[in-house]
């Protein structure tokens, strides 16, 4: 396949915490403008792998990695790459909604401001909130604290904040795990809309969510001998859920796991 179809390519990726190898031998291509989900049992290294894509693991003192992640042909871990610039292009939404203790408006504006945005801030705020399907709910209280919103609204605020920076890729680590089913559906709908402009990678524990909301799925599992996570199977989501190639995958998605 053409290089251009991939937003990110992990090659021979190994991630360590101190001497413990948390993730091993990952070969994985993330397709541009598609939604890719990571599924797998707790502790198998999904978050670790996801954070590697925008160098968030750099913030963990004991973590280091081997191998490479290529973005448009450039290895993000080359020594001349600035992790700050990487994160401007590859944004992240976290498991627990974490809006800043600032106003709703400033939550959106702040990231754009530090990224040197010079246009009309009011427009950007409205546009970002609209893309995150939150505008109608908050348009009359933009000066209230972001923390005054409900959990689901907070998470959409976090997505809006990420969109405002205009990244190319959005990484989401279990973005719906703190939300009720309706808020969850809203976010999934939102992901489908965002997909036209962004490449999305999402970690989820929810099998239905992976099946519903993603185009590609990677199943990770933990090697019982060294407790390192490895990728069992990667495929189009439909394929993976209808005819898994691997017995472990089948066991996991049919709930016969462990």
């Amino acid at each position: 396949m053409m290089q251009g179809n991939y937003a990110l390519q992990a090659k021979d990726l190994n991630i360590y915490y101190g001497s413990f190898r948390a993730v091993k031998d990952i070969e994985l291509n993330i397709h541009t403008n598609k939604i890719t989900s990571f599924i797998g049992p707790s502790g198998c290294g999904k978050s670790t792998l996801l954070r590697a894509f925008n160098r968030m693991n750099d913030l963990i003192e004991i973590s280091h990695m081997k191998g490479s992640i290529e973005y448009k042909g450039k290895n993000l871990y080359d020594s001349d790459v600035d992790p700050v610039e990487v994160r401007r292009r590859i944004g992240m939404v976290f498991q627990k909604p974490n809006p800043f203790p600032k106003s709703i408006y400033d939550n959106i504006a702040w990231g754009a401001k530090i990224n040197g945005f010079r246009g009309n801030m009011d427009e950007l705020v409205e546009e970002s909130l609209r893309s995150a399907a939150l505008w109608d709910e908050v348009k009359d209280k933009l000066d209230q604290s972001g923390l005054s919103l409900s959990g689901g609204q907070q998470q959409r605020l976090c997505i809006a904040r990420t969109i405002a920076v205009k990244p190319e890729i959005i990484l989401m680590d279990e973005p719906c795990s703190a939300l009720d089913p309706i808020a969850t559906l809203k976010i999934e709908e939102l992901m489908r809309q965002l997909q036209e402009e962004y490449t999305i990678v999402i970690v989820t524990h929810n099998m239905q969510q992976a099946a519903r909301a993603s185009d590609y799925t990677a199943f990770l599992n933990m090697d019982s001998s060294d407790r390192a996570g490895y990728m069992v199977e990667f495929n189009e989501t439909n394929e993976m859920f209808t005819s898994p190639q691997n017995q472990e995958t089948e066991d996991y998605i049919t709930g016969r796991f462990g």
Partner: protein, 332 residues
Amino acid sequence: MASETMANTIVKTETKEDVARSLAKKMRPRESLIQGFLFICGAISILTTVGIVYELSKEALLFFRDDRVTLVEFFTGSQWQPAIEQFGIAPLVLSTLVTSTIAMFVALPLGLASAIYLSEYASSRVRSILKPVLEILAGVPTVVYGYFALTFMTPLLRNIFGSDVVQIFNTASAGIVVGILIVPLVSSMSEDALHAVPDSLRQASYGLGATKLETAVRVVLPAALSGITAAFVVAISRAIGETMVVAIAAGAGPRNFEWSDVTQNYSGTPFNPFTSAETMTGHIVRISGGDISYNSIDYNSIFAIGLMLFFITLLLNVFSRRIVERFREVYD
């Protein structure tokens, strides 16, 4: 115990009385003992404060009752000369104001910067070395700081600004050293406040492509504002109350002046940091250390000064709390 387990196992045959007995309020002597002990500890600290205020007020009242003293003179007079019965507190208050202001100008930037460094930048190894050093600094007796001011800071200031400008005893030297003295306090309290900011906020910030500096100054710092202000308030109170350093290095006599001096002869007022002046605390120790008799007006005057100190600190506390309420970013 045995009857309890029985009651639990044969639930069906439990009579109403059994249930009542097993649900009945139990004496928990240890709980009440500890609760009582904690209450007493809390009560002691409150009672101490009340006691201090009572004692201060009682003696201060004797002072204000005296015919030679008027409240108007006390608050507006610019001469404090008990020998000739002049009791204007301004020279003492203003000197305190000058030393504390200088101290805060030293302590806040230094303390806050080191807190930010320790909490946001330092690796755990560096932190494990630096924190004990700061704690040792906080443990140095203040009298040592006093002589540090006199024998190091003052000569330094005289070298820089000229010995004809800077007197041997001066409030600048004392203020700067008081500032250094409270750096560890500001730093460790501010660091606690910064440290308490949830990591998820830092992650959010980095995830948006913020640099370390942007994250520290524009996300973590505002979120920690209320804790940091608490640090500042404690630090200001400490600076106002600090005694040894000012007693040694600032001067041993009130800097009396005329109100007209403030505009016409600035260098003759307590606002000039390079001349000697006595602060409220400095004056209190000097007078109480001398051989004055109890119940003399001199003796009573120091309680009036003490009460004044108490109210200034109290007001500062109240005001800064107000300010914080307006500006703080609540994160939980």
